[in-house]
């Protein structure tokens, strides 16, 4: 049986196989024609990527770059129902990797799939065998009842493993945000004059922001002002922006923009790069140029992830780099700032 499946995959055929989650539509992920066939079957728009199944971490490394986060996840969860997204090495058929060059990899915890993959010695697409947006396929009938004749014709081989237990679908996790920790190295940002103060509470941090605002508020209307905030999780970057907003006379409640990326309050635009994949590009895409041109005030959290883009505005804007570090006591913070 294994030999039959391997031969079919080698011949560029579309095969339905069981996995520990659902039935998957398997093709040789290095074969362009086979992948095209799969795209047609899934009825997907161009550019929507496919996850692939491999046998082990060694095989995965041929196709993706694994960072520490990815390695942790492989060690802990694979084989198993977790798909780990990493930066691809661009050596699979077109359309398997995402447009941005990332690739999702699974190691299915299912002996038959493993054996086929091992013998084939190539990654196999592990996308669920339903057409897009149809029922999750726990048995072959789930698929066949929901597809067109045209789609049926595309299937070359189906291996019936009966009704699969209703396991959770695979959890997808992206590790590429941790690819290149962009750390603001000492010396990279040269501050003309550096100041440092100790904050003993969140309220204290807000007051420091207020004082800092008063130093620069005379520029409002003449120049854009950027507060570029750097500091580990939980150091109080949002606290700082709360203080800034209060000093600017903004009455609205300031909350974290991590999820929405950008919140605007009159003159103040509050940005967070924490979950941006391409922080420099994404900061630009948010319309920063126009904001600078309009002489807005920007507070950017995790600014160390987007130094290159922020630096581009140094002609037009006053850039105040603010660094918050943990101090000795639980609530102590060392806040330093300076302009470039």
């Amino acid at each position: 049986m294994i030999n039959i499946v391997v031969k079919a995959l080698n011949d560029g055929q579309l095969v339905f196989l069981a996995s520990e989650t659902v039935y998957v539509a398997a093709v040789d992920a290095t074969n362009e024609n086979a992948v095209k066939k799969l795209v047609t079957f899934k009825n997907r728009p161009f550019g929507k990527p496919f996850s692939v199944g491999v046998t082990d971490i060694k095989m995965a490394e041929k196709y993706v770059v694994l960072n520490e986060t990815a390695r942790n996840l492989y060690k802990r969860f694979l084989p198993g129902p977790v798909t780990v997204i990493s930066t691809g090495k661009h050596n699979l058929a077109k359309g398997v990797e995402a447009e941005n060059g990332t690739l999702g990899i699974r190691i299915p915890d299912y002996p038959f799939f493993q054996k086929v993959c091992k013998k084939l010695a190539k990654p196999i697409t592990a996308t669920s065998a339903n057409a897009s947006y149809q029922k999750r396929p726990y048995k072959l009938a789930d698929i066949l009842d929901n597809i067109s004749k045209k789609q049926k014709k595309l299937i070359d081989l189906m291996i019936d493993a009966g009704k699969l237990p209703h396991n959770e679908p695979s959890t997808v996790i992206d590790t590429t945000l941790d690819d290149k920790p962009i750390i603001l190295r000492q010396g990279e940002i040269k501050l003309k004059k550096k100041n440092e103060v100790l904050s003993r509470s969140g309220e204290n941090t807000q007051n420091i922001a207020k004082e800092l605002w008063q130093k620069y508020d005379s520029f409002v209307g003449n120049r854009a002002i950027i507060f570029a905030l750097e500091g580990k999780m939980g150091t109080g970057k949002t606290q700082f922006v709360k203080g800034l907003a209060k000093a600017m006379g903004i009455k609205e409640k300031i909350s974290s923009p991590s999820y929405d990326l950008l919140n605007s309050y009159d003159l103040l635009t509050h940005i967070d790069t924490w979950r941006m994949i391409n922080p420099n590009k994404e900061l630009k895409d948010l319309g920063t140029k126009k904001l600078i041109h309009d002489k807005s005030v920007l507070a950017i959290e995790w600014a160390d992830r987007t130094v290159t883009e922020i630096k581009k505005y140094s002609e037009e804007a006053i850039i105040i780099w603010v660094k918050i570090k943990y101090g000795k006591e639980t609530n102590d913070r060392l806040i330093s700032w300076g302009i470039t």
Partner: protein, 351 residues
Amino acid sequence: MIILAIDTSCDETAAAVTRNSEIVSSVIWSQSSLHASFGGVIPSLAQRQHQERIDWVVERAIKNCKLKIKNCDAIAVTTGPGLAIALGVGINKARELAIKYKKPLIPINHIEAHLLSPFVNSKFDSEAGRVILNSKFPMFGLVLSGGTTVLCLVKGIGDYEMLAETADDALGEALDKAARLLGLGYPGGAILEKFARSGNPNKYNLPFPLQNDKVKNRFSYSGLKTAFVRLFEGIKNPTKEDISDLAASFQSRAFDHILKVLEYHCSLKVTSLLFGGGVANNIELKKRLRKLCKKHGIKLHVPYTNKLNGDNAAMIGVTAYLKNKNVKNLNSKYGGIEIIESIDRNPKLKL
């Protein structure tokens, strides 16, 4: 009432066709999830991506249900809250279709839609005028996601009183941040939950957020986050067991906070709780909420499928229906080019 609904409030591009409170078709282009099954989010900005996808997604939602746009009674679209440039793409598309097909255009609040998502595919007996799910107003409403942490009193559809909202991070965001700190990738809330299952939630003594609040009318995760960073940094070479215990401890304390605030308001003698948003996928939290609800004689209502906890347009369509049960009034309220063109994005829209 047949509604074509569109949502582009954040990373997902979504369209759906709904008939009254039921889903006819629902399409979500989720960047983060190759299987479109888990409601995480990956930003890869924003306007351009939605712009490329919106036509395909709407077309697919229509095609999947064998209806035509001309058969719809109205178009509904999310106008906020969310990222302005993302919202704009959905609103432009909805406006274009509303004008082209001469349909009323109903603006919808994304948080309200999450709040009402347990009503999706629930039976509604309009003749008897009975409340859906056979529950009586007022109800509690709890929306917990990557961007929202809200507890409110639902006095009726469209009539809400805020009981507590977050002063800093949303719960889903805090869970994702804790996960990323532990080296578990992004969005890590779901993986954090998996680790937490085998961990000891009492191993580390993390602080209870806002323990001294006498009136519990807000949430906050900044203090817990800080304590967690400091705790983690003090552990040299954490083992898998350590990571599991850390995950369990953080998750447990983050949930304690939600439960304490909810329990504080239980004196209101409300008998139902509506619960939606991405964190409603968390099995442990649902278990703990159920226990609390049981103690106070409250019935917990969650969406019939986890797919509705992530961002989707089906809940937008159903919300539009629940707020406008009378088809005849649609046109006078939401019809005409002037009204349609006046509908605009509102990134900071409140419940």
